[in-house]
């Protein structure tokens, strides 16, 4: 097991380098970093522009440029952003922290509720509650996050304050404008709506996964064996049924991180929530190459790690699978 993990980690390094190289090319052809720099700094001297090109590895030769960028990146000599000439790492770190907080909250709510609904539906397949859960899941899948975000904002902020005098939940940011210091309660209040918007998607997807996975397990032979041994129905369900039904779901959970990040990008933008999504869309809109590259590296890195996690958890949960 340890050897397998180490070998996968060793493989992740060239994979990461290769993908970031492709991203580097895509961003350079797609956003034209030098032009974006000149657009913001219209009166930059040629020396200044050359300095920018060197710092970002924007050599006309893509391979040489990539390795120069990589050298600077690895030695933590990160160039400053084009817009506002800010340090990149503090901005990225804050965005990451905010997104991880939102992502964990939404995933926790989404996965717990989704799994419970899935079990609830699978116990009486074809019954009324199965149909209800299934239909609700379809509605959830068909509602893009920005649509539910807009409708939530309209209902819980704008019209709520017209009807009842004050807004129920704030619709923007982590704190009200001008707030300083740390206040978990206020922060949680700001996170309620974005959390639910993301969680709806997760609930819809996971209830369906869990339902079909549990149905597969319930009709399997070892369930019949367990029953025939005289174990109580409750124990059969929890000890044999749920545990086995969770195996594919856990794997999907680890692989699905990309989709959740996608939902977060959209949701954060609507709620002006300063996370990775806002970071990306702002930086992309400005063509801010120094901000975009580290973001991409982080996304690729976390995807690779979650893929590895999926495989490990799969082997750990299912004794029939051996990693070599």
């Amino acid at each position: 097991m340890l050897r397998y993990v180490l070998r996968r980690l060793a493989w992740a390094v060239p994979t990461l380098l290769f993908i970031t190289f492709l991203v580097y090319i895509a961003l350079r052809t797609g956003t034209d970093p030098v032009a974006s720099y000149k657009r913001v700094n219209a009166r930059a001297t040629p020396a200044k522009i050359q300095q920018y090109i060197d710092a970002n590895g924007l050599d006309p030769n893509y391979v040489r440029g990539y390795f120069r960028w990589l050298g600077n990146f690895l030695t933590f000599d990160w160039p400053r952003s084009i817009k506002g000439s800010r340090e990149v790492w503090p901005a990225l770190k804050d965005a990451l922290a905010n997104t991880v907080r939102l992502g964990i909250a939404a995933s926790a709510v989404g996965i717990v509720v989704g799994l419970m609904l899935g079990v609830f539906a699978a116990l009486r397949p074809g019954g009324r509650r199965d149909v209800a859960v299934n239909t609700a899941a379809f509605v959830g899948i068909s509602v893009p996050p920005y649509v539910s975000a807009i409708l939530f904002q309209l209902l819980f902020a704008v019209y709520w304050s017209r009807w009842f005098g004050s807004t129920l939940f704030p619709t923007a940011g982590v704190y009200p404008p001008g707030h300083t210091g740390f206040d978990p309660l206020l922060m949680a209040k700001h996170m309620v709506l974005p959390t639910f918007v993301v969680a709806i998607q997760i609930i819809a997807v996971y209830s369906r996964y869990m339902r079909s996975s549990l149905l597969d397990v319930l009709s399997s032979e070892y369930m019949r064996t367990a029953r025939s041994k005289g174990i109580s129905e409750r124990r059969v369900l929890f000890k044999h049924g749920l545990r086995n039904a969770l195996i594919p779901v856990v794997t999907i959970a680890a692989l699905d991180v990309g989709a959740i990040v996608g939902g977060l990008i959209i949701t954060e933008n609507i709620f002006s929530y300063p996370g990775m999504g806002m970071y990306f869309l702002t930086a992309f809109g400005d063509g801010d190459f120094p901000l975009l590259m580290p973001w991409m590296v982080l996304i690729v890195f976390s995807t690779l790690m979650f893929n590895l996690l999926a495989d490990i958890s799969y082997a750990w949960l299912d004794p029939r699978i051996r990693l070599e």
Binding site: I19, L22, V23, A26, L27, T29, G30, T31, D32, P125, G126, T135, F138, V139, I141, S142, V143, P144, Y146, V147, I150, L151, Q153, L154, A157, V158, Y159, R162, L215, S219, G258, A259, V261, G262, I265, I266, N269, I270, F280, L281, F284, I299, V300, T303, L304
Partner: protein, 307 residues
């Protein structure tokens, strides 16, 4: 003679039809979509005003729903109901065309990858993994710019904000999911006895693909086609929502543009501008999703509806 024993003879097609019809939500969805398509196709008659026509002389902006503007008006006094019809038309065109192209591409690539295996298969699957590793919106935004920056492609695929460009973009980056499904299907079918039998009697590769692999994959392909349509319509709306969507010429509009305009209507409380475009999008997506689900039930005989 025992003439009274008659076995019910139902063709596979009839069985599929029966299974489809037993999915009530899908039947309703077919009606809803049908009505919508008729409305959109007959837009010169069903729309009450032109795309850019004001309903009345100023002051005409932000009117609530009323007799001369059933769903209210927008910031410059245009009828939301008429604009929704024009917008859905553009969105359906984008959804249908890009789905057909990307599913055709995905079938071809997936089938070849699954049938031939080897290096081609490896490369295709790695490319698929690569693109699925990024959030779809990020891929779309970055690749939109990359495609748009290639000078010699411009005459073929149009300007960055044209409807044609959006269709090409979705088609070029939408085939991966389909390719994966078709590849899995082909890999599973390849080992089955009837393919082996066909090969044993000397059937050519092309014959096997045409007579056995494709007909047996029609179900999953149809299902992924419907889901591709939804995904393209929603993607168009997402791009437009963030300001990267089509800017259809001559003031034509799309569902995405209308949903995008809803964003700024929330805080002043112009609820009709937010609710109606959003609901239209949800109804379209939901109907197509239900139809896709029923198609999956109908074309996969092993999957019993109530089990």
């Amino acid at each position: 003679m025992s003439d009274d024993i008659t076995l019910p003879t139902i063709s596979p097609r009839r069985m599929a039809y029966n299974r489809f019809v037993s999915h009530k939500a899908a039947v309703v969805s077919v009606f809803v979509l049908g009505i919508l398509i008729v409305f959109v196709a007959l837009s010169p008659f069903t729309a009450r005003y032109g795309v850019n026509e004001a309903v009345q002389a100023p002051p005409n902006y932000f009117l609530t729903p009323r007799a001369n503007a059933w769903l209210g008006t927008d910031d410059i006094g245009r009828d939301l109901y008429s604009r929704l019809i024009y917008g859905v038309r553009v969105s359906l065109v984008i959804g249908l065309f890009s789905a057909i192209i990307s599913v055709a591409l995905g079938c071809l690539i997936g089938a070849v990858a699954g049938f031939r295996g080897g290096r081609f298969d490896d490369v295709v699957m790695r490319v698929t993994d690569l693109f699925l590793a990024f959030p779809f919106l990020v891929t779309l935004l970055v690749m939109r710019n990359v495609l748009g920056s290639i000078e010699w492609l411009r005459p073929i695929i149009g300007e960055l904000s044209s409807v044609r460009f959006i269709i090409v973009l979705f088609a070029v980056f939408g085939w991966m999911g389909v390719a994966r499904i078709v590849r899995g299907q082909v890999l599973a079918l390849k080992e089955r006895e009837f393919i082996e039998a066909a090969r044993a009697v000397g059937a050519s590769r092309w014959y096997i693909v045409r007579r056995h692999l494709l007909p047996n994959s029609v179900g999953p392909i149809m299902v992924s086609l419907t889901f591709s349509v939804v995904s393209a319509i929603i993607s168009e709306a997402t791009l437009a929502f963030f300001g990267y969507g089509p800017q259809a010429g001559d003031g034509a509009t799309s569902l995405g543009i209308l949903v995008g305009a809803a964003k700024s209507a929330v805080n002043p409380g112009f609820w009709w501008l937010a609710v109606f475009p959003c609901l239209t999008l949800v109804v379209i997506a939901l109907s197509i999703n239900f139809i896709g689900d029923a198609l999956r039930d109908a074309t996969d005989p092993r999957m019993q509806k109530d089990s």
